[in-house]
C-alpha cells in the first residue's frame, strides 16, 4: 500500500492504483470543478476525454493516466 494526500486528507491505496481510482476511493470521485461550477469526474479512462484533469503536486495532470506515488498531493478544488 502507498499513502498519498487527497484534498488535504491522507489516503492509502494499493500500489499500481491510478489517481482516478484514488479519487473514487477517497473523495467524491471528482477531479475538478468546471468553468460552469459543476464537479467533473473521469469518463473515458484512457487519456482522451480530458475530463479527469486534476492538480497533482501543483501540476495539472490526467488522473486516469497517472499512477499514485507515495506522498503525492492531489487537489480537486484547485
Amino acid at each position: 500500500m502507498i499513502e498519498l494526500i487527497l484534498d488535504g486528507l491522507a489516503l492509502r491505496v494499493a500500489a499500481g492504483s491510478t489517481v482516478a481510482a484514488a479519487l473514487y476511493l477517497g473523495g467524491d470521485g471528482s477531479s475538478r470543478t468546471s468553468v460552469g461550477d459543476q464537479r467533473r469526474a473521469p469518463v473515458c479512462g484512457m487519456g482522451i476525454c480530458q475530463e479527469c484533469r486534476v492538480s497533482i503536486d501543483g501540476q495539472r495532470r490526467l488522473a486516469c493516466q497517472t499512477l499514485c506515488q507515495p506522498g503525492m498531493c492531489v487537489e480537486t478544488h484547485a
Binding site: V35, Q50, R53, R60
Partner: protein, 373 residues
Amino acid sequence: MNAEIIVVGAGIVGSACAHQFARRGLDVLVLDSQRGGATAVGMGHLVAMDDNPAELALSRYSIELWRQWAPSLDPDCAYRNCGTLWLAANREELQAAEHKRETLSAQGIACQMLDASALRQAEPMLRKGLLGALKVSGDSILYAPNAAHWLLAQGGARITRRQDQVSEVDGNRVRLADGRWLTAEAVVLAGGIHASELCPELPIRAKKGHLLITDRYPGRIQHQLVELGYAASAHANTGTSVAFNAQPRPTGQIFLGSSRQFDSLDPQVEGPVLARMLRRALDYLPELGKLNAIRSWTGFRAATPDSLPLLGEHPQQPGLWLAVGHEGLGVTTAPGSAQLLAAHLFKEPAAIDPSPYLPGRFLPVPRPTEHSA
C-alpha cells in the same frame, strides 16, 4: 413559393443574411445540412484586416455593426472587446506595424503603437526581445456558433430553420436530398466550403487550418496576439504555412492558431503541421510549454483567389445570390456581407462600395445566344 427567401447554410454568414432579410420584413427559410463549416471550428476573432482596401472596408464596416449589436448579444456569444496586438519581432515588422497604423488610422480605426516596454507591461507572458506592437483596440472576439444562433433568433417567426441537405440549386429553386424542389423569390447560397458542391464553377479552394486550446489558465494573456507575419501566411497561395495567433478565451483558456494548407480535405489533425504551429507559438509564448492542451482540431476556410468573398447575384443564374468565399474572415465580415447582399436585392445604395465583391469578377456573364442568319 415556399418562402420569400431561402438561405442555404446556417453558419455565421447565412445567419447574418437571414437576420438582415427578416429585419426587412421577409419570410426566410434557412436550410442547413448540419455538417458544420468554418463557423463551428474557427477562432471568432473580429479583426480589421487591411491587406487591400476592399478587405479593410468590409471588415471595418462589419466590426462597427458587431459593436452596435454587442450589448444585445446573449452572454453565451462570449463577446469580449479584448483588442488585437500585432507583434513586431524585428525592424521590418516594426515598419510594417507603423504602416498598418497609418492605413487603419486613415480609415478612422483607433490604434496605437506600443514600444517594447509598453508591450512587456501589457503582455508579460510574451518572450523578451520583441520590438513592439500595434494595438487595435476595437477588435473583439466572440463564440461564433452561438452568435449565429442569436442572429437567427432575432428574426423571430420570420425565420424558419430546418435541417435539410440541399442537393441542387437552380436559380431561385433548391432541390432537397429527398428530391423535392423548393422555390423562393431569391435563393442565397451561404454554404461556405460546401457551396462548391452545388456550384462547381465557384472559384473556391479549401484552406485547411489547425487549432488547439489549452486548459484554463486565467489572466495569462489579455489581448488577441498575432504576429505581423500573419498576413504573409494568410495570403500565401501554395504550400503549408503557420503563423502565431493566440486568443484569451473568457474561460481562461488560451486558443491557438494558425496554419494554412491547400488541397487537403482530410480533417485529420496532422502532427507535423500542429508541431510547426506550436513551435511558432512557443517562440512567442515560451511559458506555453508548461501548460496543458486539451483539444486540437481542424477546419476548412473557403478561399477565393483574391481573398475577398463573392457577394451578389450569380451572373449565370438569375435568382441565385452568393454570399460565400469569406476564407478566415467570415465571422468578422458576416454583418457587412449581409447588408451588402440585402442592398443588392432591394436595389438600395450600399454603405460601402459593393463592386470589389461582385461574383462577376470570376464568373463571366453569359453572352446572349447568337442566332445564325
